[in-house]
Amino acid sequence: MNGKIWEKLENLYKVYQEGDDDSKKRLASSSISLVKMGVLLIFVFIIFILGAIAWFSTNGEVSDNGMGILVQGAPYTIQTRSGSGIYSDIYESLNTGGMEWKISADYNFDNHTSAIEEGEEEPGIEPGDSGKLEFRVNPNDADSITVDCVFDIKVYLKTITPVGNGETETAINEINNSVIKEYVKSHIMLFSGQDSVTHKYTGLIGDDQSARRVFSNQTYTRNGATYTTIYWVWPKYLSNLTSNDNSEIIFAPTERSAVIQYIANNKDGFFKDCSDSVSKVTSDLTSLSTAYSNSIFNHYNMKYDNADLEIGNHVSYLLLSMKVEPVVDSE
């Protein structure tokens, strides 16, 4: 094919040098077709390169990029309990694209019917509430799978607008205000463990480098029976987290210092209008855990309570999502 093109080019050059008017016309038309062909070839080449790059990159890393999963088939299934939450109708109407985290009487997000049976009008969470949720990940093909569980929070506001004749219209919209979202994300804390006797929390699920809450490197075997329990807690008072009093929810000193560091790093989420530096918050809260000071405690607790109030005043519904990301073997 290349030889032919070269012949053609030589021909064209001859015509250009020696030809009459008529052949020059033919030259014009054939050079147009040559240009067309050239463009087409370049186009095909570009497509080929693009295709090759895509092929390389999708095979090179299997990630949450949809293409990778599709190529391999779904490598896992997330399993939860069987019960639907009482707000599942509202949840379905939001079309978040996720799968409902099924619950039971013991494992729920204060959204189980048992709360209504116990006399609560509209169950929900408020400061001081805590509970647990559970799930497991089942590898579909492999014998075992190791995953990172990434937690995220979305918040929604319910608005009721009168539309005349005493009728009202209810709308539920996602809140994108990052300040409010930070308050909720910080105040709803997640732990991976709880002492069965003392009920104190262990294993704070904190942030990774990209400020995502990640519970990393969980390994599940195929059709195993082990569920992972996640403990959620909305501490009522700041002292629940900082005090070394035996009645508080964090007790082990190492746990407490990890929690205090986490609070300081997320100070704008834990506290409303906190202008103190991260290191100041860290040292103040650390000093509180050993020697209580009224003035230091009130300074922070007021801001903590104000953030709670902001949540209560501006947020109607809360969505805790957990995304699973298979860990790629580094070998």
Partner: protein
């Protein structure tokens, strides 16, 4: 199949483009949804409203209408001011009164209820289409935690050194009480407030759905009218009320009762 191909061939270019886009969308959207469903689980719950205690006026009026205006101490010896508490979901709350002690008033707190035959009058501003209506209230004499309907107010900072009136501790202030017309008698001279509190008042009217109605209260402001021939040098002169002093401020505040655990 041939027919379909022929039909497609006949289509104009824009229609062909539309057809291709439609086909791509049909395939792509279900695929992406399928992927997401397996990728993420979500727990959804409600965040409860923060409980609030509101202070309001009588009837269905907002707090705006609580008014102490037009007290004429030369006629009668007391006046009732109606207000109400909306305890929300709390079943017990505290009420604190704090008031300045410029005028020799005594403040008492009563639990009251709407009662046609009552003697405490309140002008309602919001009932009956904006027309003002007079509502009558009477003291609930058998209300729990009260003495014949009177709520016991405990003074937090009384100074009982002086005779007669109970005043806020004001050792740093001048002790002789006079009227504004006297030399060096400033308007705010006796403005140091006296705080008194009633704790753990039970919510009386709970609705069937768990929400609460208003609990009505009346502050009884009473005084001893002074005789017109009294002069400042008379003993206990300042224990008597005259219409020549007009500024006292009263704060009503309420919060949920902290029960000792």
């Amino acid at each position: 199949m041939k027919k379909i191909i022929e039909y497609i061939k006949k289509l104009s270019l824009p229609m062909k483009i539309q057809l291709i886009i439609a086909l791509i969308c049909t395939v792509a959207i279900p695929v992406s949804a399928w992927f997401l469903i397996r990728d993420r689980i979500e727990a959804f719950t409600k965040i409860k409203e923060p409980p609030a205690i509101n202070i309001a006026s009588g009837g269905a009026d907002p707090a705006l209408y609580i008014s102490l205006e037009n007290i004429d101490v030369s006629s009668g010896t007391d006046k009732y001011i109606v207000f109400s508490i909306e305890p929300g979901k709390y079943n017990a709350y505290d009420i604190q009164l704090s008031h300045t002690t410029n005028i020799p008033f005594t403040y008492r707190l009563y639990r009251v209820q709407e009662d046609e035959n009552g003697t405490i009058e309140y002008i309602d501003h919001t009932i009956a289409g904006g027309e003002e209506t007079t509502l009558m209230y009477s003291i609930i004499t058998d209300a729990t935690g009260t003495t014949g309907g009177e709520v016991t107010l405990t003074n937090i900072n009384p100074d009982d050194n002086s005779t007669g009136r109970i005043l806020g501790d004001e050792s740093d202030l001048a002790v002789s009480r006079r009227n504004y017309d006297a030399v060096n008698d400033e308007v705010n001279q006796y403005a140091k407030p006296l705080y008194s509190i009633a704790r753990n008042l039970p919510q009386l009217n709970e609705n069937e759905d768990g929400s609460s109605e208003r609990d009505y209260y009346a502050i009884r402001i009473s005084w001893i009218p002074g005789a017109s021939n009294m002069i400042e040098s008379n003993a206990g002169y300042w224990n008597y009320a005259f219409n020549n002093k007009e500024t006292d401020i009263i704060y009503i505040s309420s919060k949920y009762s902290v029960t000792t655990e």
